[in-house]
Every structure is written in structure tokens, then in C-alpha cells.
Amino acid sequence: MSNISILFRREFSSFFATPVAYVFIGIFLVLSGVFTFFVGGFFERGQADLLPFFNFHPWLYLFLVPAIAMRSWSEERKSGTIELLMTLPISTWQAMLAKHLAAWAVLGLSLLLTFPLWLTVNYLGDPDNGIIVAAYIGSWFMAGAFLSVGICMSALTKNQVIAFILSIVVCFVFVVSGSNIVLDAFKGWAPNEVIDLVASFSFLTHFEAMAKGVIAMNDVMYFLIVTICWLFAGLVLIEQKKAD
């Protein structure tokens, strides 16, 4: 346990030793503002909630989370520090978990820093703050799932750009499988069970309820299981590819 916290602190502070975390948080805040006010029509809707803010999160994460995840293993392999890390008395799963938690903490921090939006909506109206907190938690769990895909792809290759593109593609599949574009293609010929199955793989489907403030166990479990599965896949990959 203490190994994980030591590794976590190293990873977390390395995000802030380089401009990575600052750039990430800055862009996240700017983009979420743009989406909420200009695209989401926050004022025009005239409703005291943050739905226009949360609705864009899957699309925001789609590009931003792979960017923060791509360096996690790729850089270790490229610079050779993986040899150092793996010959220290720690297990690979501890390193994997610490990397995930550190990047997840940065994502959590970015979410927390969107608090001016919450202040705004409370100033303008009288929203249900329970719903907003639930949506924040849901969004953070979804970010964790995106992150695990990114970390797994980063374990796959030494090249950060390839890791970035691969994780966008995989995340995109997970996001759109619940959107109407994909579901319409199935409708009409596929049985409802198939459509439900496809939709149930989607981050969108599971996040939709959470964005409205409903934290259902199955949605949280879905994101947790997705996260664990991708991290485990990454663990298998890194064990095999560490010396390449």
C-alpha cells in the first residue's frame, strides 16, 4: 500500500513539474466553458441546472483524457526508466494503479476547478445541488474509464502519438456505440436485445442518467469494471512488452 502512495506522489508531482497538468487543466476549463455557454446554451435554456455542462463531458474527455494518459507508459519505455522502475522492489500492478490514480486525481482536480460554474448557477437560480454533486461523481468515474483505455494504449507502444490516436479511436467506439448514429444503423433489422447490448457498451448511455443526477449502482459498476478490465489488459501488455 505504501508503495502505491509513494509512486502516486511521484506521478502526481511529475504532472506539475512539467506544464502537462497546467495546460490540461487550462484547456479543460476553457473548453468546458465554451461548450456550456455557447454550444450548450446555458443562459438561453433558462433552467437552473448544469446539464449543458455535463452533457459535453464525454466529447471533451474523448480528446483530452488520451492526451494526459498517453505518456504514462510510453515515456517510461522510451526513456528507459521502465528498467529502473521494474527493478525496484515494487510490483507492476502497483505501478499501474499508481499511474492511474495519479492521472485520475488530476482529472478530479480539473473537475473541482469548474466550481465557478456551480457558483454561477447557484447565483442565478436555485438548482438541486444533490443532482449536481451526483453528476460530478458520475463524470469523474467516466473520466476514469477513458483514462484506463488511454493507459492501456500507452502500454502498447513506445510512441506517444500512436498511443494518443489509438486511445481516441477506442474511446470513440465506446462513446458512439450509444449514440443515435450507430443505433439507427441497427434499428429496423436487429432485434431489440442486440440494440440494447450495443447501447449498453456505451459510455453515453451510462453517463446520461448520471448527468441527470441518478447514481445507479449498475452505471458506477459499469465504469469501474471497464476501468479494471482496461488496466488489467495494460498490465498484461506491459509485462510482455517492457523490454522491446
Binding site: 509512486l7 511521484r10 526513456s79 526508466t81 529502473l84 527493478t87 522492489p89
Partner: protein, 307 residues
Amino acid sequence: MISVKNLFKSFNGFQAVNDLSFDIKPGEVVGFLGPNGAGKSTTMKMLTGFLLPTSGEINISDLSLKQSALAIKQKIGYLPEGAPAYGDMTPFQFLSFIAKVRGYKGTEKAQKIDKVVKQVELHEVLDKPIDNLSKGFKRRVGLAQALIHDPDILILDEPTDGLDPNQKHQVRELIKNLSKDKIVIISTHILEEVTAVCNRVMIISKGKLLFDDTPNTLNRQSKYYGAVTLHFSYRADSSELAELEGVAEIEEDLQTGRLTLFPEPGADILHLVTAHAQRCKLPVDSLYVEQGRLDQVFRQITQEDNM
């Protein structure tokens, strides 16, 4: 105590390590020699548990590396090839991180860092990012990281590569001054380094162990071992030298004018040569006994294998 039995490692059909077996006892400073791609680094990576062998067994301090990897990693200090380190950290942060992973806390941690910083003389760069350090300092950060927990087994992959002569000397002194009951394994391309710090030499080529003995024995394999080289201040008749008892062969370097007399195996020809030079009043201005030329032995051993 390290014991390696029938170690094999292959990468996609390429046999990197081919049936290596050896034992290393505490107190031995072993030099791994070999051409590039001989399997030195691969062997070291397997000893440190970074790579898994294709087959074969590694036991360290009576523990099997397969079963008790973590316990063994505690005992090993390892400097990987190229001395990788986290470039965004300063040497102090980096050493502090390593010390924490090695299980030190509080004042003990501070003492360990302090000691190792003195040992490799890092104080002037302690707060600069590692990325901005010169090659020599980076290498020293890597060494400090390997030494910080005072390990029983020290494995250094090319510890002096890229250092200037002063720094090389420093690192060699450091290795020599380590306590006498440790196991040290270093790999190097610099042959003199082996005679300077090691008490055992292993030459590996194409994954096979070709030579395993003391540096002295390696020297003795040289054709030049015990040969006498002399130089005349002006041209003189040297034909009689070849006739001396015990001289097997004579070789003249036309460019420098140096004569080298090779002894018959086991013969000591120095006093015969000096006596003859005195008797015939040869104009000798320099004369010395060769200690053996390692580069020539190295070529001989590793290239024999190629044929």
C-alpha cells in the same frame, strides 16, 4: 551468492544468451566483457529480474528469482545501461523517491541520501532538473540511485561510459572502496577498467561464456605477455638477439623501430636480453617488459568464435 544455471534467452528467434552457467561469491568484482550485442546487458537484465529467462535458473542468496523476485530486488542495486532517470525531477527528489521505495523514512532517509550524495559528489547539482545535467552528472545520479540502500549486490551496466578520465577514475575508486563482502558486476568496453577494478573477468560473445578467470590469467593469454620490447638510438645489428636462448620470435615495427622479442612459453628472457645488449654494446635507449595486451587477447578470444 549468485548462481546461474543453463541460462537461455531468445528474442523472436535471436539467441541473445546461450547456455550461461556461473557462480559469483561475495567479494568478487566481476567484469563482463564482450563485443556489442554479445548478451552482457541481457544477462544483467535477467539477473535484476527485469527480463525473464527463456529457460534456466537464477538463484540469488539461496532464493529463486522466479519465486522471490521482490525479496531479491531489495538486495540489488542496479544501474541500467545509459543511466535512465526521471528527467523532470531534481537529483534530490529522485534520490528521495528511490529511498522511499527502498523503505527508508525520516532521518534515516536523509542520512542515506546525504551519504550517497557525498560518495558520488552530487551536491552542486542537487536542485537542478536531471534533464539539464551533463552526461557525467546523469551517470552519477544513476550510480547514487544504485548505491543508496547499500546493496549486497551491485550490477552496473557500463558505469563509466561517457565520463571524462577524472570521472572514470572517481567511479573506479568508488567501486574499489565498496566493502569487500559485496558482489559487484560491471559491464564495460574498456579493457583497462577490468584490470583496474575487477578480480574476475568473464568474456561473453554471442551469448556464450568464452573466458572466466582472473584478469591476470587473461593477460597471460596474450602473445605479448613477458615479451621484451627495446628501441635503439640508431640502427644496429640485432640479428643475434633472435638467436638467444628462450627467444621464440622477433618482430620489428618498421615505423617506430621498436623490436619485440617473444619468449618461448614459460621462459624469462629479460636478463638474457640485457646481458646481450651490454656485451655487444647495443645502443639501447629504452627497454621494457610487456604486461600482455588485452585488446589483442580480446580480439583473439571473441573472433576465434566467429570463425
